[in-house]
């Protein structure tokens, strides 16, 4: 997830177009089994990532693990099949991940949410509320670091009490704190005029006495 406002020329492209391209690219990448074509896709994917104007040091940190995993996959495939098949698989995986990085690094979280909300809108016919699903998604992303820091604080407190290998001693207080926070967060959302009522499926006719 990008922490600052995305820059570069790709940021100006609508989120729907970028995610649409990612969908099509994933199909094409798996439909084409030739090394030269995969090399061309890889060059295109690298260019797309560079167009996000993400600092190279940050990119290096993001991509290090990816290259390590793909390297292991490549080595395994070379030993078990031909080098061409290994190269196609490795390049395919790299290109796909790089395109995905290019999309997420160039798209603001709010744009992604708006897109998901639009895509989920047809689910209202099934009685689902796309705005609520979208809010739940954003809150999940918002609160993962908070829950992690609470977990670390509780674990530290239990270590201080000599409870070194006791998952229950950590998980029970974590669960209680998370539920308490959830209650307060729910009040905070209400206080900011969030309408949690699901959208009406059709206008209610006036009631006559």
């Amino acid at each position: 997830m990008n922490g600052s406002r995305p820059g570069g020329p790709l940021a100006a492209v609508p989120a729907g177009c970028k995610f649409g391209f990612l969908f099509v690219a994933s199909i094409v990448l798996y439909a084409v089994p030739h090394v030269p074509a995969q090399v061309a896709f890889f060059v295109l994917a690298v260019t797309a990532v560079l167009l996000t104007r993400t600092p190279l040091r940050r990119l290096g940190r993001l991509l290090l693990g990816l290259f390590l995993v793909v390297g292991i996959v490549f080595a395994t495939l070379v030993l078990t099949s031909t080098w061409e098949a290994a190269a196609v698989s490795a390049l395919r995986l790299l290109s796909l991940c790089l395109f995905a990085y290019a999309v997420t690094l160039s798209t603001a979280f709010s744009e992604m949410l708006a897109l998901f909300e639009t895509l989920l809108r047809p689910t209202r016919h099934l009685g689902l509320n796309s705005a609520q699903i979208s809010l739940a998604l954003s809150m999940t992303i918002r609160f993962i670091p908070e829950i992690r820091s609470q977990y670390l604080a509780i674990r530290e407190a239990q270590f201080a009490r000599g409870l070194h290998n006791s998952p229950v001693a950590v998980l029970v207080p974590l669960l209680v704190r998370t539920l308490e926070s959830a209650q307060e967060i729910s009040s905070a959302i209400d206080a900011r005029c969030y309408d949690s009522a699901p959208p009406a499926r059709r206008p209610t006719p006036p009631v006559s006495d």
């Binding site: 997830m1 922490g3 600052s4 406002r5 603001a108 979280f109 709010s110 809010l135 954003s138 809150m139 992303i141 918002r142 670091p145 908070e146 820091s149 926070s181 307060e184 967060i185 009040s187 905070a188 959302i189 209400d190 206080a191 900011r192 005029c193 969030y194 309408d195």
Partner: protein, 233 residues
């Protein structure tokens, strides 16, 4: 829908709040018209319940709470536009991953979109001097920054009254002073629940809540004397 008055008074009439068979607040009659009002009291005295009544986060078991012509039992959403609420722990108030998105959340709920929304968010960030936080991830903020973002998320909705529930509890001295100055300069009516007695010395009115009742209502100096007596008893 008729326009709301600029700064409507808040009136509580015969308000009792009961939880699990116990009266948390009993027979409260109050009219809140002043610009700066403090609410103090011991832990568990009913202060937070009292202020949560003001924007319909808590509804009275008996009695009515009116903001202008509106009652919390019937017009909760309209009242929440007029009475903003800053929570004790800003971590629970910030619900979006990025600061700008979080500040925009409330006004989006009021139907604002596009440049009007962006302008309003930028204006409140500028007013509080936190424009540099605009694109930061919420979880990376310090405690003081989180409290300012939480306040921005309330002020952006342009309420006529802002309720603060122990806003300085989790802040160091420097951030406490900063928040205090910010509250002092607000155009809105401020109702502040606090244990920070230094903060309220210049307020127009102080309520002391004790065992679910308004035990004292008057000038800050006399209220502090009363509060010290009940604290020491």
């Amino acid at each position: 829908m008729p326009p709301e008055p600029a700064n409507p008074g808040i009136r509580l009439t015969g308000v009792t709040v009961t939880r699990e068979g116990t009266d948390v607040l009993r027979d409260v009659d109050l009219t809140l018209d002043e610009h700066r009002i403090a609410v103090i009291g011991l832990n568990g005295s009913g202060k937070s319940t009292l202020v949560r009544l003001l924007n319909a986060l808590v509804l009275p078991t008996r009695g009515t709470v009116r903001v202008g012509e509106l009652t919390t039992a019937q017009d909760a959403k309209r009242i929440r536009r007029q009475v903003g609420f800053v929570f004790q722990n800003p971590e629970n108030q910030i619900v979006m991953p990025l600061v700008a998105e979080d500040i925009a959340f409330g006004v989006k709920n009021l139907g604002l979109r596009g440049t009007e929304l962006t302008d309003r968010v930028d204006a409140v960030l500028d007013r509080l001097g936190i424009t540099h936080l605009r694109d930061r991830e919420s979880y990376t903020l310090s405690g003081g920054e989180k409290q300012m973002v939480a306040l921005a998320s309330v002020l952006v909705m342009e309420p006529s009254t802002v309720v603060f529930d122990e806003p300085t509890t989790m802040l160091d001295r420097r951030n406490r002073r900063r928040l205090q100055r910010t509250i002092d300069h607000l155009d809105q009516r401020a109702i502040v629940v606090t244990h920070d007695l230094e903060m309220i010395s210049a307020y127009e009115r102080t309520l002391v809540v004790h065992e679910g009742r308004i035990a004292f209502d008057g000038e800050p100096a006399a209220a502090l004397d009363f509060y010290c007596r009940i604290s020491d008893s």
